[in-house]
Amino acid sequence: MTDSTPGQCDEGSATIAEENNAIEGFQRRIDERLTARNYTETARFGIRLALEEAIMNGFHHGNQKDPGKRVEVRWQISSDVATFHVIDQGEGFDPDAVPDPTLDENLEIPSGRGIMLIRTYMSQAFYHTPGNHLEMHYRKPVTK
């Protein structure tokens, strides 16, 4: 995990292996950075969930559970926007081909909810072609 010195914008990257506590340790460090920049508990809940889903999707669907493959996360956290790039070593996929998990006929299917949770909790989320690179942004709501 590499970091910049906290300043105007906190940025860094981490290469994560699918092993016990690797994601947990990473999430804790990101949460500390978000807390330091006054992201609310609600914002941090959503970002943590989106990151968890993105990284797990990278391991399972992208890397096909290959223990030799990694997921890379790059981040930039300013006082207003938190940006994350989650990149796996797989061949990519078509996110539009994932069935809508909220349809009645799909409710009892145990998987397929990660992408919709990411899109719901983040302000913006999209995949770069061929689909192994997710870019997502959380923008703090404007307060008057």
């Binding site: 699918e18 016990n20 506590n21 994601i23 947990e24 609600t42 809940f45 943590r48 969930l49 968890e52 889903e53 797990m56 998990p101 909220t102 409710l107 009892e108 299917i109 145990p110 998987s111 909810r113 990660g114 919709m116 949770l117 719901t120």
Partner: protein, 121 residues
Amino acid sequence: MSTAPSRIRVVDVNGVMRVEFVDRDILDEASIRQIGAELARAIEAANAPRVLICFQGVEHLSSAALGSLITVNSLIKKRGGQLRLSNIKKSIYEVFVITKLHKLFQVFDTAEQALQGFASS
């Protein structure tokens, strides 16, 4: 067979299997798999199991945990039983609403409310 410490606590309350989680975060795959396996073992040992899963103390869960709950619900229904959920923190309940899973599960504010009419049903 896993020798890892149990990730759930199961208590019998007048014939209802009341389940609580040991962890506050139900996120990592290994824990979720273990929880699913422990629940499946308990359910398969019962006839028409009535199961209450209490989320007291749970702060985070992932879509993989939701998937495990769906599998557990299907298993309980197959065995002629019933599943109820309770004590779900507001932020986590929102995840159920976003995914529309609140329509699939019977969710109660408290374990006491969930147990009402459940133990004798």
